[in-house]
């Protein structure tokens, strides 16, 4: 059976923005498409003339079907945007069905011994039980059409990160576009210590857009891809925000921030306001500094506490406090070991650190250590996953390969294989 799983283990990471999928044969790199589906206007004359109408379109060809931009918000659905899909959100579940079938079909082997994949799917750690039930049901439905799934299992994304990273006792912080999740792990995910934060890369984009408006680039902020590019190129994490701003104000030349978009006339120059670069990075880790208050007052969306499904996503909790709160829900003897292995994962932790600015700016791992030091936690080791974008998928593949075939799914443990056919 190990030999069979060595060929037909299939990993799926249902991320907030991207859907990463592929069998173990993909080696290091799965395929990646955007985790979204498009519901075309089937009454469109153009659509009727050229295509047999489909209910929902997913995959790489999706952009070719996009119609008028004004109704994109209702027709283009990102089902996992918050990590949680409402039970009755039929459109979102339809996208999950289509994108799951699309992924499995894309790698359907021709070999005669193929009896279906051992599918390991990964969902947000705050996904409620009904999402597991729905996803298993989707795999059953797919199997009724075509035998693509022999057995399926679902694991939380931070658990997959820990597996992919190879650490068995740690705290994983996964920070994506829409939100962040913290999950302590010691062989198993420690479910009652999971903490969700309603703040992710999208919020740093929002602040970058406000800064760009203040600097006179208001006409460019409608394009989120451009704003994101500015954030990634110019944003910096300060060691200490006030000191960094002061240093940058005294010596703007040293901290100058410019971005020229290749092949266009678009250029952004922060000039004497280069100190604002530090606001972007600080906001990701700690949005409570008084500097951000003026942006909230002027209408920037403040990350709020929201209840999605059964989980409350905290808006303004800084990452240091979040780690402490999560770890303190674990047994006392385990806590020091958890602080000693904090693993950061997700695109929201990838930040530039120009060599000449070391001492003023820093990276994500050091920033987390500093936030914990403020709380009195010093014996800390923080690491970034080796592949922030792919570690969940790597974890899925290892899990699928290693977990014995006869370890049956159990709803209390939320682990094991759900066999869909013999």
């Amino acid at each position: 059976m190990t030999e069979y799983k060595g060929r037909y283990t299939f990993g799926i990471d249902y991320g907030t923005s991207d859907y990463k999928y592929g069998p173990i044969a993909c080696k290091e790199n799965p395929r990646i498409i955007e985790n979204r589906g498009y519901f075309p206007d089937k009454e469109s004359v153009m659509f009727k003339a050229f295509e047999k109408p489909k209910d929902v379109i997913v995959g790489e060809e999706l952009p070719l079907y996009l119609q008028a931009s004004e109704d994109l918000s209702t027709r283009l659905i990102y089902p996992m945007r918050n990590g949680v899909i409402e039970k009755n959100d039929e459109r979102a579940w339809q996208v999950v069905y289509e994108i799951s079938r699309y992924g499995l079909n894309a790698f359907k082997p021709q070999e005669k011994d193929f009896e279906g994949f051992y599918v390991v799917a990964s969902l947000s750690s705050v996904s409620p039980k009904y999402m597991y039930e729905k996803l298993f049901e989707i795999y059953r439905q797919i199997n009724e059409q075509e035998r693509l799934v022999k057995a399926a299992t679902i694991i939380p994304q931070p658990f997959a990160v820990a597996i992919g990273h190879g650490i068995t006792t740690c705290v994983v912080i996964e920070s994506g576009h829409g939100n962040s999740q913290l999950c302590p792990i010691s062989r198993y995910p420690i479910g009652n210590a999971v903490l969700a934060i309603n703040r992710g890369g999208g919020d740093a984009n929002a602040l970058t857009a406000e800064i760009l408006k203040d600097l006179g680039y208001g006409d460019l902020v409608q394009q989120e891809a451009f704003v994101r590019r500015v954030k990634e190129s110019i944003g910096l994490i300060p060691i200490r925000l006030e000191e960094a701003m002061e240093a940058a104000k005294k010596n703007p030349e040293k901290f100058k921030a410019k971005l020229k978009v290749p092949g266009t006339r678009i250029a952004v120059d922060f000039q004497e306001n280069s100190w604002m670069r530090f606001l972007i990075g600080e906001y990701v880790f700690n949005p409570n500094h008084q500097m951000f208050q003026s942006y909230f007052t002027r209408g920037m969306r403040k990350p709020k506490d929201v209840k999605i499904g059964d989980t409350t996503f905290r808006g303004m909790l800084d990452f240091g406090e979040a780690i402490v709160q999560s770890v303190e829900r674990c047994p006392i003897e385990l806590q020091p070991h958890l602080y000693r292995e904090i693993v950061l994962s997700g695109g929201n932790f990838s930040w530039n650190l120009p060599e000449k600015l070391e001492g003023i700016a820093t990276d994500s791992t050091t920033k987390i250590k500093l936030l914990l030091k403020e709380k009195g936690i010093t014996n800390v080791k923080v690491t970034m996953t080796k592949s922030p974008q792919l570690s969940v998928w790597h974890g899925c593949i290892i899990y699928g390969y290693a977990v014995p075939d006869d370890y049956a799914w159990n709803w209390e443990r939320m682990e094991g294989w759900l066999k869909l056919h013999d």
Binding site: G6, T168, P331, I398, R413
Partner: protein
Amino acid sequence: MISSTEEKLKSYLMSKGMQPLPIDDSLETKPNLSFQEGNGYKVFVKVPSREELQERNAILNLILNSTTFRKTANKVYLALPKIYASIIDGAIIQGQGLGLIIYDEKIIDEVIAPKIFEHKDSSNYQENLAIEQLVSRISQLEQTVQTLKFEISQLKSIRPTFGEAAKTEKIEKIPDSLPSFFRDNAWLDILSKRGREPERYVS
């Protein structure tokens, strides 16, 4: 008249938390009113009629008759018009363990509290109550033990595992064809034991 008095007495005793009971037909001498207290005690009340009170030695007869209720009831009251209060010797009533309630047009009052007579039934009731309480406590303890067992198994399953992976031998050789992230991954050994571990790890 009696009926109206009995109604008033009934209301009075109900206001003290007693619940009316039907009169047991099998009793040789029947009380006028019968109640049960919250603790299960049976209370009988004898309310003599005007005719009964006019007899010679009426009060003495009443007391003697009422003492027979002590076999069945846990508390026995004698209810008399207020004007009789001055002519009766409270010590006799008290000596027999009876209670005395006096009444007139305006008031109803308990002037002598009755003694409690324990009976076999009542003590059975008390015993049953005690057993029920014990059963309930044992059941609570069992639940607590179950919860603690579950929590202990949870704690064991999440105990620190650092270094342990290094101590255990890998159960099989990882094929070279597998992706590089399989190399030296401590989870391979742990995950391959899922379902084969001692119960403490999986519960």
